[in-house]
Amino acid sequence: MTIPKVSILIPTYNGARYLAATLESALSQSFGDFELIVCDDGSKDETVSIVRDYQKKDHRIRFFQNPTNLGLVQNWNHALMLAQGEWIKYLFQDDLLTPKALEKMLCVPDSASMVCSKLHYILEPGIVEETRDFFEKRLCQIADIYPGKKNLSYQDISLAAFDHFPTNIIGEPVAILFHRRAISLYGLANPDMIQCCDYEYFLRLAANEGLFFIDEPLVSFRVHPDSATANNMKKRFRKDTMDNLILRHEIVFNPHYHKFRAAVCEKKPNMDFVNLFAWFARDTFQRAHSDPEDLEYFLEIAAKYPAISLCKKRFKIFSSLFEKICGVISLRANFREKRNSSNSLPNKAR
């Protein structure tokens, strides 16, 4: 069995509306040595029949149907497990590749294990004004932070991600091509997250391996009223606040992020990650009280990540003032000790 160079993964769920265009854009790539894995999570529309039609025409399509509904993140992970290619490319059911996307993304130095291109957003009519505003104005990408820079080291990524936290600076998964070895080194996407799981996963990779950036829009990301991103905008607490909390937890406590922490602390020596996290955990806990469902969800996550409840209790009272006083006292004590020791030396000599 020959191993293909690239695996294109399309996890699908009720995506019949745009799926044909997506498949078409993948199959008409100028770079042909790939397998296309479609992993359907129990769609109730024509998704299955569309894929079956294309499968008859093109033998590179491998089609899998999950016996049970796994949910979005687990479906991604499932597709990732099935991939055999050397490089992995996620493509979602409503996204598009430009015809030369793969070819251009593969023209990178051998050392790079992650490639990211610019994104082109397709804003379909009917989306909420707020969402449109987000994509048109507030969106911040690597190209805006490091204009003209191609080879971004893990330090660059870490600092940019920290400064613009929690904005997704890397972009949607469709813009990224990564090497398979990353799976064995950094694991799979975290299924406890709802909206930020893709950002967390690619940040985990990029904050260890760095990123090669192509300043050319090679892929299009479609935002339409039914898309996952637009839907997620509705339920605020679970999808924004709690995801944010888990993301922070991972950054502060996960050993995969130790390079991230070191890079940030190099530039900002007084950075206290745990304290920031503790503050956010308390804040989230208070916000969760407004709705019993939210509180239940918070407690469920806190049971899974015990560091949350541990930090929640870690109050620092009058922290800044207190620290300043303590700092002055300890400085003085040090000074006194030094003076004493310098005085006592000649005595001893005598």
Binding site: N77, I183, R261, N275, Y305, P306, A307, L310
Partner: protein
């Protein structure tokens, strides 16, 4: 078509044993296997022996790592290269006791559980430390000592037993394990931050969620000699092995979402096990044991950088913990001094 079992042999300077090990693998009655040999740039004839065998048997695939990457990374590399549905590790100096070893194992495994562990028999070379030998003979527990006569052990029972004998490794060396490859992707690979107990952590990570099948009737022979990885660590890296590994294992059990069930079991046990208290205690002990030794201190500092929760818990002293705890609930003292975390 991918084979049913990938037999993975991570090798390093094993010319003296590899031949016997390979013979015991190739003479198995279960034939649908591939043998993955990942050589970590041995300085002796190991690679030559492996290639020689590969010429005679097409099921053997020999790989050589681009650089020497250490034992744990080599295990992970093996997992990465394996293509079979199930993965069976066997170390270069270990042996499959009988030719029907794999056949018996694969006939008893359960697809829904996905992890099986067999009985271990230890063989010692003359050079091995007396105390170590005695410990293995008298103290070591296997699954049939905990649950005699039971082949299927539920996730709950795994957690309970692991907490009872903590930190003893009931699963044994990777040579005793048979894993489903999908599970490795689901639960992750070997944690490279361990020196010695990385295998114990991986098997516990999977079995505490999935349960375990214990196979008592076909043993694997595990060879202890003066130079094997296990005893080499004992003389040279005692601090990392005894103190830091234990610390990281406790950290993972306390803070990793995968060990959720284990923590639940600890909370509901009779009496409940205070894992967090245990961890804080171990952190303080680790600091005390590091003492003034700069190498040990550096090792501990490195771990603290990787796992910031270590520092978080270091200040969590419990005075008269049991009595006070009952009165006030959980009381933890907090460091007034700001600590820089990274």
């Amino acid at each position: 078509m991918s084979p049913k079992i990938s037999v993975c042999i991570p090798t390093y300077n094993g010319e003296a044993f590899l031949e016997n090990c390979l013979k015991s693998v190739l003479s198995q009655t279960f034939q649908d296997i591939e043998v993955v040999i990942a050589d970590d740039r041995s300085k002796d004839r190991t690679l030559e022996i492996a290639r020689h065998f590969a010429e005679t048997d097409k099921r053997i695939k020999v790989y050589r790592n681009p650089v020497n990457c250490g034992p744990t990374n080599n295990f992970n590399w093996c997992l990465y290269l394996a293509q079979g549905e199930w993965v069976k590790f066997i170390f270069q100096d270990d042996l499959m006791a009988s030719p029907d070893f794999l056949e018996r194992m694969i006939s008893q495994v359960d697809d829904a559980i996905g992890i099986a562990c067999c009985r271990r028999q230890y063989v010692f070379d003359p050079g091995v430390d007396e105390g170590l030998m005695r410990w293995f003979k008298e103290k070591l527990k296997q699954w049939d000592d905990v649950y005699p006569g039971q082949t299927k052990i539920s996730a709950r029972e795994v957690c309970r037993a692991a907490l009872d004998v903590f930190p003893m490794n009931l699963f044994g060396e990777p040579s005793a394990l048979l894993l489903k490859r999908d599970l490795i992707r689901e639960y992750g690979m070997f944690n490279t931050n361990f020196i010695h107990s990385t295998d114990a952590e991986l098997s516990l990570r999977i079995a505490s969620n999935r349960g375990l099948v214990f196979i008592s009737d076909s043993p694997v022979i595990i060879h202890y000699h003066a130079k094997s990885t296990s005893s080499h660590n004992a003389t040279h890296r005692r601090y990392s092995r005894d103190v830091l590994d234990h610390l990281v294992l406790l950290h993972e059990i306390n803070f990793h979402p995968v060990f959720d069930r284990m923590r639940e079991e600890a909370r509901n046990g009779h009496p409940p096990v205070d894992l967090l208290g245990k961890f804080s205690y171990e952190v303080r002990m680790a600091r005390a044991k590091a003492g003034e030794d700069p190498v040990c201190q550096e090792q501990l500092r490195k771990m603290e950088r990787l796992y910031p929760a270590i520092r978080l818990c270091a200040g969590r002293v419990k005075i008269f913990s049991t009595a006070l705890n009952k009165v006030f609930g959980k009381v933890g003292l907090i460091n007034a001094k700001p600590i820089r975390y990274y």
